[in-house]
């Protein structure tokens, strides 16, 4: 058994390019929520020296001067394109673990090597327009390193099979902090024991590693030795929490505006709960002022509540959430962000529904279904709860967002 790690190249930028041929060969960046900083760069932008996390507002001039095309993040588009990439790969493998929005591990058999990787890559490219890199290795950790190697060496055309070469030469060139699962702190610890590269870690004394880093570190070292310790997790771990939090486009002071914003986020969380057929047992709400303005008064409160009966009904979630917000709200601060998180999620089916469920409950569920149905047909928030407000002055800045080409009828690509 071998593993492949498939990773979409500069995924968000690549999504933008699928629907905008004018972006081919042009430097592209995608900004975080609220147009704050750079979270994705095309190869051309990387070559121009644009770093991850570059604040956008400080670099408008530089973007303009270099002809860098700047986009607000469009998660509706990226999410849909991700599902298409994963769906395409599913046509070629039996077992697969979707690891993140732009990465997946695949289980391969002995016959699936470089030729298979090339075919997979070209199929994903043709079907979805998204370029991917494929790394193959005897363990997940090595597959991840193989993928990294494929990306760093353009002559490999995006595919590399670590099982066909003597890996030590390559491992010697990889610093510990670039190994999957090894963070900056761990690599600093390793450096103290003169373990600097992946090869050092591979050859290190296991007992020493276990002592210094625990079982997790030992597992990584074993995986570097080709001993598979991490299985494919095909079933996504049941979600432990769902959150929705954004920064505001401008500072918000009034409780009314905060309430409207929070109610909208809570509605979104409710939608996610119902789509996942989950119920939330706890809800927490927080408020934040701007950390980056230390000269202004700072206040970062949060609080939570437990539901007597787990729920996924938006009115109930909003009611409780807004109560919490009113408890922590203090006037006189300029708020930058508010958010909600629901935790202790349980499966809808695992909760004993009252056989004699009262009529009111039934009506509430029917109402919620009708609202969800309308929003699905007419676009998000076509029908909303009164507390969500109408003008949404607090909405996040997304001045350069591309259209939702694949999820909105009004946003389709137009071709003449």
């Amino acid at each position: 058994m071998r593993f492949a790690l498939v990773d979409c190249n500069n995924f968000y930028c690549s999504c933008e390019r699928v629907f905008n041929p004018g972006l081919m060969g042009v430097p592209v960046v995608v900004l975080s929520n609220n147009d704050g900083c750079v979270i994705a760069r095309s190869e051309e932008s990387k070559k121009l020296g644009v770093e991850m996390g570059t604040p956008a507002f400080k670099n408008e001039e530089m973007f303009k001067k270099n002809g860098i095309q700047v986009f607000s993040s469009n998660y509706a588009l990226y999410g849909d394109m991700s599902a298409r990439v994963m769906g395409t790969m599913r046509t070629m493998v039996e077992q697969m673990e979707v690891y993140s929005i732009d990465e997946a591990f695949l289980a391969l058999d002995a016959s699936q090597g470089i030729a298979f990787a090339r075919e997979l890559r070209s199929r994903v490219r043709q079907w979805t327009g998204i370029p991917v890199s494929v790394g193959i290795g005897p363990t997940k950790t090595l597959a991840k390193l193989a993928n990294r190697y494929a990306k760093k060496n353009p002559s490999l055309n995006g595919v590399f099979d670590l099982t066909t070469v003597e890996p030590d030469e390559i491992l010697a060139k990889i610093e510990c902090q670039d190994i999957w699962g090894v963070g900056r702190r761990t690599s600093a610890k390793l450096a103290r024991s003169k373990i600097l590269t992946a090869l050092d870690l591979k050859n290190a004394d296991m007992a020493l590693i276990r002592n210094a880093l625990g079982v997790v570190g030992e597992r990584i070292a074993r995986e570097l030795n080709g001993i598979s310790c991490m299985e494919l997790e095909e079933l996504p771990a049941s979600k432990k929490a769902i959150a929705s939090a954004r920064s505001f486009g401008h500072r918000v002071e009034s409780l009314v505006e905060l309430e409207e914003a929070l109610a909208t986020y809570i509605a979104r969380v409710g939608e996610k709960l119902r789509t996942g057929k989950l119920l939330a047992s706890r809800i927490s709400v927080f408020l934040e002022t701007n950390h980056f303005r230390p000269e202004l008064p700072q206040y970062h409160p949060g609080t939570q509540a437990t539901f007597l009966r787990p729920t996924n009904q938006t009115p109930e979630l909003i009611g409780t959430g807004l109560d919490l917000l009113r408890k922590i709200y203090r006037p006189g601060y300029q708020y930058k962000k508010t958010g909600v998180m629901v935790t202790d999620l349980v499966d809808e089916s695992s909760v004993q529904m009252s056989l004699f469920g009262n009529e009111g409950e039934k009506h509430r569920i029917a109402l919620q279904k009708a609202v969800d149905g309308l929003n699905k047909r007419l676009g998000r928030n076509a029908v909303s709860f009164g507390s969500m407000g109408l003008d949404e002055a607090w909405q996040m800045r997304q001045e350069r967002k591309s259209r939702c080409f694949t999820t909105r009828w009004d946003d389709l690509l137009v071709v003449s």
């Binding site: 990773d7 995924f11 968000y12 041929p21 004018g22 081919m24 975080s32 929520n33 900083c37 979270i39 994705a40 991850m52 996390g53 998660y75 999410g79 991700s82 599902a83 298409r84 990439v85 994963m86 769906g87 395409t88 046509t91 979707v98 690891y99 993140s100 929005i101 732009d102 990465e103 199929r123 043709q126 079907w127 979805t128 327009g129 095909e234 079933l235 996504p236 979600k239 929490a241 769902i242 959150a243 929705s244 939090a245 954004r246 996610k272 996942g276 057929k277 958010g339 499966d347 089916s349 695992s350 056989l355 080409f405 694949t406 009828w409 389709l412 690509l413 137009v414 071709v415 003449s416």
Partner: protein, 148 residues
């Protein structure tokens, strides 16, 4: 890729992996009287997706603009169903990227030459020269048209 914001991005969860538990008991109120004679012959409703979309991962909806393809039955405002997984063949209608611009035309190959041909006499065929860059984005498999 590192995500640099505090929002949780959920990986797409395939629906078939989600747990389902059906409890038929008391799920519908018991009714007195005769059952509908159609109950034993229930069929699922027709789903247009089954007819129009053979490969969901690679199928995109694209709106047509202008009348360069009117003789092929593609009118301005129509929604074209475009499958990127279909290998483009001679005479198929394609969405193409020509020198950085999208266009929908009929693909023709004649004696080693490639043409993009409009279906409207007012538009001359475009012969693709070696200096031009042509990428076929996808093949139009259906057109949804609302009659006047």
């Amino acid at each position: 890729m590192e995500l640099m914001f505090s929002m949780i991005v959920d990986p797409p969860v395939p629906f078939e992996n989600r747990k389902k538990l059906r409890i038929p008991l008391f799920s519908t109120p018991v009714q007195a009287g005769f059952p509908s004679p159609a109950d034993d012959h229930m069929d699922k409703a027709l789903d247009l997706n089954e007819h129009l979309v053979s490969n969901p991962a690679s199928t995109f909806f694209v709106k047509a603009k202008g009348d360069s393809m009117k003789d092929a039955g593609i009118m301005s405002g129509d929604i074209m169903i475009v499958d990127k997984s279909v290998s483009p063949k001679d005479k198929q209608i394609v969405v193409a990227m020509l020198d950085g611009e999208f266009t929908v035309k009929r693909l023709r190959r004649k004696s080693g030459q490639v043409f993009l041909v409009a279906e409207n006499n007012a538009f001359p065929p475009i012969e693709i020269t070696s200096e031009q860059e042509l990428v076929i984005w996808g093949v139009v498999t259906f057109v949804i048209h609302q009659p006047k």
